[in-house]
């Protein structure tokens, strides 16, 4: 009986009037935030240092905080990669999200279970990589872009041994051409293994017929973007664990 009554009352149209329901909410939140901002602006002054002087470079020179993730990536990759290619890939990668995530579940409501891997990937890219790099760049980098604890005095003469070597050298290659061949194979193997791993993984979590649903183009773009994103933590690991400077060295580009 109660069941039937509830069924009858099921909303055919669950809409409410924008005025007053939404407008009232927007007004109150805007007012609250505006007051908070004014109080904050009254209490904390915007920084203004001494006048610009092109002949005096501060050490360290830091980009605005929202770009410190990119500056921190410069530790691990050359500027053309960390400063140009990776940011472009981030922007393109964000743009293609709606076209590679064709999971029909979770459209317009919070859920974790039905789109666990999508959310975890975003979490890895946004929170773990982007935000962590910003925090490291903001609070843990001092003169010479060396690592300092936030409470540590910034010693501009801190001695840091430069023990980094290139990957081919590390595994024993001394000849230039053999090193280059090894490097290219290592990078090729990374991408091939990455794509195979991605394929097997998606096969496991999305079911046997996933490639039919996704199509080859969607699978390739998603896989390449993920493998390229994972290149950052992989390079970080190689650097921190094995002091690897570059994986590939050529006269034109180093990776």
């Amino acid at each position: 009986m109660a069941e039937a009554a509830r069924e009858k009352k099921l909303p055919v149209d669950d809409k409410v009037h924008t005025w007053p329901h939404l407008v009232r909410m927007e007004f109150l939140v805007a007012l609250f935030v505006l007051v908070a901002l004014v109080l904050w602006a009254l209490m904390v002054d915007a920084p203004l240092e001494e006048a610009a002087n092109p002949t005096r470079t501060p050490n360290p020179s830091k980009a605005p905080w929202y770009f410190l993730g990119l500056q921190e990536m410069l530790v691990y990759f050359d500027p053309w990669h960390a400063g140009v290619v990776l940011p472009s890939l981030i922007i393109v990668g964000l743009m293609v999200i709606p076209y590679i995530d064709i999971n029909p579940r979770g459209n317009g409501y919070y859920c974790f279970k039905d789109r666990k891997w999508e959310i975890l990937t975003f979490f890895l890219g946004f929170h773990v990589l982007w935000i962590t790099m910003i925090i490291i760049g903001t609070f843990f980098r001092g003169p010479g872009w060396n690592l300092f604890w936030p409470w540590q005095r910034w010693d501009p003469h801190k001695v840091v041994a430069l023990t980094n070597v290139d990957l081919p050298y590390l595994v024993g290659f001394r000849d230039y051409w053999l090193s280059a061949a090894f490097s290219l194979m290592a990078i090729g193997a990374y991408f091939v293994l990455g794509m195979i791993g991605f394929y097997l993984f998606v096969l496991k979590v999305k079911g046997k017929d996933f490639l039919e649903r996704w199509g080859m183009v969607r699978f390739t773009i998603a896989g390449l973007l993920l493998v390229l994103m994972m290149a950052l933590p992989v390079k970080m690991f190689l650097r921190l664990a094995f002091n690897v400077k570059y994986v590939l060295v050529t006269p034109w580009i180093n990776i």
């Binding site: 669950d14 009254l42 203004l48 092109p54 929202y66 140009v84 743009m95 317009g108």
Partner: protein
């Protein structure tokens, strides 16, 4: 009828008043719709929205707050523009003047800067929320792209504004931030394959951005124009598209 009511009646029934306000304030469903549809600002909204989409724990209010921060920076920015000259000789002195001599100058500058920082945080949180609710899924895919462009423009707005105080913080942060442009493959003189294109320090991607081989008076003017006119204009157009498409597609939510 009291005198007050009579005067009020005369005003509300007058020709002038009725030409401005086309309907009353009665709490009727028809009037609630009219409130939104007959107001150029409020009609950014649909007349009715889905019940769950109004709740704060669904939207976090982040998109709207990003827009609010944009409006605050626009208003305070115009105030600052009255006192600031984008010329290398004057810019820093104008900052001091603005801080110490102008009425509410310091407050306006503080609000401008903190609102700009808040805008970046809010736009990131907005993106995170939209991802969590899957609100980019059909039919809203393209609006997500517009949103990513707006995210990039927000960062560029903040970055171009960073140079304008013309202090040590400004020029060195922008130097570091712009150095990546000279490493652009092909187009930057320190980038790979620059030789094939013939890029050099005064003729490459960064020189195009700076108006010269290094940060100088031209850079200040360029960033000023980008900051005050070009990027806000483009962002406004994209915001109109962004809001319009939300209005057409409706707020996202589970299917009924």
């Amino acid at each position: 009828m009291s005198l007050f009511d009579k005067i009020k009646n005369d005003i509300v029934e007058s020709h002038v008043w009725k030409s401005i306000f086309r309907h009353g304030y009665d709490d009727t469903p028809r009037n609630r719709v009219m409130m939104v549809t007959s107001n150029v600002f409020l009609h950014l909204h649909p007349a009715k929205v889905r019940r769950h989409a109004v709740r704060m724990r669904f939207t976090w209010c982040m998109g709207g707050l990003t827009f609010l921060m944009f409006l605050i920076t626009a208003v305070t920015g115009i105030y600052l523009m009255f006192y600031y000259r984008p010329v290398a000789e004057y810019a820093y002195a104008d900052m001091k003047y603005l801080e110490f001599d102008m009425p509410f100058g310091m407050l306006m500058r503080n609000m401008h800067r903190w609102a700009a920082h808040a805008m970046i945080v809010f736009v990131w949180l907005h993106m995170f929320r939209v991802f969590l609710t899957g609100s980019y899924k059909p039919p809203r895919e393209f609006n997500w792209i517009v949103g990513v462009l707006l995210l990039v423009l927000t960062l560029l707005l903040s970055f171009t504004g960073y140079l304008l105080p013309w202090d040590q913080l400004a020029i060195w942060a922008v130097t570091v931030g712009s150095n990546m442009a000279r490493a652009t493959p092909l187009l930057g003189y320190e980038g790979p394959f620059a030789d094939f294109v013939g890029a050099n320090p005064i003729y490459d991607a960064r020189a195009f951005l700076f108006g010269g081989g290094e940060i100088g008076p031209h850079t200040l003017l360029r960033f000023y124009i980008l900051h005050c006119i070009f990027i806000p204009l483009v962002a406004s157009i994209l915001m109109a598209v962004h809001f319009w498409r939300i209005r057409r597609d409706g707020f996202s939510g589970p299917s009924l």
